[in-house]
């Protein structure tokens, strides 16, 4: 089974939030409660959470726009539909002590809800702040890339609902090629700040299964600029734990032995 993924091309996102709605509908994800206005442009979802598996970010930027009388103050909107990255090296999966989080035959990362004991380790391990706990329930929830739909050969609900093909689903290798072509097109059209985010298998998480084309720095969209999978340093941690444990025993032994001499 080839690995599948999402390529989210934010340059064509119109901020309609159809992906958010489709995701909630298909996966029966609860609402957060009463609708609140955040004052953060058109964003009232705010973040990915146990109850929001897609999150459309809205950024308003002051820019110079050309006009008949020369450049003028204008506004541009950046919009981007964020989602779980389904990391190649996924910290959430690595640290889960129950095996509740697992990698599917499609290369995606999914929580088995009947096993999760709500320890919350994955929440602190995810370098993107994606996976989160539903407080009343105790367990954690996140995007499954519509595992049930993939199993029967259809595409995830968000990708199907997206009216502009900002969210593209498919074979990961093919998506990477498509994204490369697209970013070159944008560069040729003068969009120098366009860049791919998460597409490289050489990055800190071994490449994301859900990657993005952004029009500005990642942190502008609330994304970490250069995340690493926390387990990369685990070997060093265990060695140091071993050394510290040995030092503790040696110190105690010395305290007893020093009595005799």
């Amino acid at each position: 089974m080839p690995r599948v993924g999402f390529f989210t091309d934010t340059s064509v996102c119109i901020g309609c939030k159809a992906c958010e709605v489709a995701c909630k509908e298909w996966n029966a994800v609860p609402t957060k409660g009463a609708l609140e206005l955040t004052g953060e442009s058109f964003d009232n979802t705010s973040e990915l959470s146990a109850d929001s598996w897609r999150h459309v970010a809205f950024i308003e930027q002051q820019v110079q726009t050309p006009s008949e009388n020369g450049p003028q103050e204008g506004v541009r909107w950046l919009m981007s539909s964020d989602v779980c990255k389904h990391c190649t090296h996924s910290a959430c999966l690595d640290v889960c002590p129950t095996g509740s989080l697992f990698r599917t035959e499609f290369g995606t990362v999914v929580v088995q809800q009947d096993i999760c004991n709500g320890c919350g380790y994955c929440v602190s391990a995810c370098p993107y702040g994606v996976i989160a706990q539903r407080e009343d329930d105790g367990r954690v929830f996140k995007c499954t890339m519509c595992y049930d739909r993939l199993k029967v050969g259809s595409e995830p609900a968000c990708a199907q609902a997206c009216p502009t093909q900002s969210i593209q689903f498919g074979d990961l290798d093919e998506l990477r090629e498509r994204a490369q072509t697209r970013v070159e097109e944008l560069h040729a059209a003068g969009q120098d700040k366009a860049r791919l985010y998460g597409e490289s298998p050489d990055d800190g998480v071994g490449g994301a299964g859900a990657f993005f084309l952004l029009l500005d720095e990642p942190e502008v969209y609330g994304l970490p600029p250069d995340p690493i999978v926390t387990t990369r340093d685990l070997g060093a941690m265990w060695r140091r734990v071993g050394a510290a444990g040995a030092a503790l025993l040696a110190g105690v032994a010395a305290a007893y032995l020093s009595d005799r001499g």
Binding site: G129, Y221, A255
Partner: protein, 321 residues
């Protein structure tokens, strides 16, 4: 590497929102567990020494301390789960990539040994008395793991202060655990037998202070969280209590039982403050996106200046005791 923000660095974020999710863990449960687990593990090490060198009163107090502390630890761990009834799911798999999984197995092996060793102090069964020394020695070895694996437990997260501290935390925790165990044992044991406990307590307190200072000076931006707000209050209290406790115990603990008790309890209190301080600093580092964005920007611009550059200094690896 300066922990301060360079003037050339423009800081942008998404409406100032955190990038990471804050730990779901309750401070009382998890910081409490870090303390109680450390106290238990190091007490078991002391207990084995007491048993091997024929100090029955010291063996008794440390074995019972280990039992009480590990009981509290297990209760705190189970209480902190979102689905406590599913605690046993921890023992479904054994995953070396998950310090929590390794820790669960460690506790599963360690706790019964502690129970056997302490059981011999509580009920006089000849059979128990025969296995207690062996169980106690096993508990000592595993206890060293229980006291230190928690550094990998919190280090193996994306929480900036914890992850950046992963080189120092094992030594901070080993020192803090031994200082608290030595302190409690000094408080609970007659002077004639508590000499080794006092020496462990004082030596470990010095090691803990050195390791903590090295961690605070490691140059990571996230170490700022150890110097701000509630975390700072807790860390500063930890230092004062540990310093004063070690001083009192070292100077007067051999002569006065009252001084031994006061100094020992101050050390234990210092260890409590340290764990809560580190917990709180980590939490704070998830709330401000700066601690995620700035180091990552620096490391992506110049790999040589990566925030995680190894720093093997002498103060990096103090030995316990």
């Amino acid at each position: 590497m300066s922990p301060r923000r360079g003037p050339e660095e423009e800081f942008t974020s998404y409406y100032g929102r955190p990038i990471l999710k804050a730990p779901t863990w309750e401070p009382l449960d998890i910081a409490g567990y870090l303390f109680a687990g450390g106290l238990a593990g190091a007490s078991s090490a002391l207990a084995a020494g007491a048993e091997l060198t024929g100090r029955p009163a010291l063996a008794r107090s440390t074995r019972l301390t280990a039992l009480g502390a590990i009981g509290v630890s297990l209760a705190a761990l189970v209480h902190d789960l979102g689905r406590p009834a599913r605690f046993v799911n921890m023992l479904r798999v054994a995953k070396p990539t998950s310090p929590m999984s390794m820790g669960s197995w460690l506790l599963a092996a360690y706790s019964p040994l502690v129970g056997l060793a302490a059981g011999a102090e509580l009920v006089s069964l000849p059979m128990l008395r025969r296995v207690a020394p062996i169980a106690g020695r096993g508990a000592a070895v595993l206890g060293a793991g229980v006291a230190t694996y928690t550094a990998a437990l919190i280090g193996d997260t994306a929480v900036p202060t914890w992850h950046d501290g992963h080189r120092h935390l094992p030594f901070v925790f080993a020192g803090s655990a031994a200082a608290s165990a030595g302190g409690v044992a000094s408080a609970l044991t007659p002077l004639a037998q508590s000499g080794p406990a006092r020496r462990v307590a004082v030596g470990a307190a010095v090691a803990e202070l050195a390791a903590t200072t090295a961690m605070e000076r490691s140059g990571h931006l996230s170490t700022q969280t150890l110097r701000e707000g509630r975390a700072h209050t807790l860390m500063a209290s930890a230092k004062v209590l540990t310093g004063v406790g070690a001083g009192v115990l070292g100077a007067l603990g051999g002569r006065s039982r009252v001084a031994a008790a006061a100094g020992g309890l101050a050390l234990a209190a210092g260890s409590v403050c340290l764990r809560f301080g580190i917990f709180e600093a980590g939490r704070a580092s998830t709330l401000d996106p700066r601690y995620v964005i700035e180091p990552q920007r620096r490391s992506s611009r110049s790999p040589s200046a990566a925030d995680s550059a190894p720093s093997e200094t002498a103060a990096d690896a103090p030995t316990g005791g």
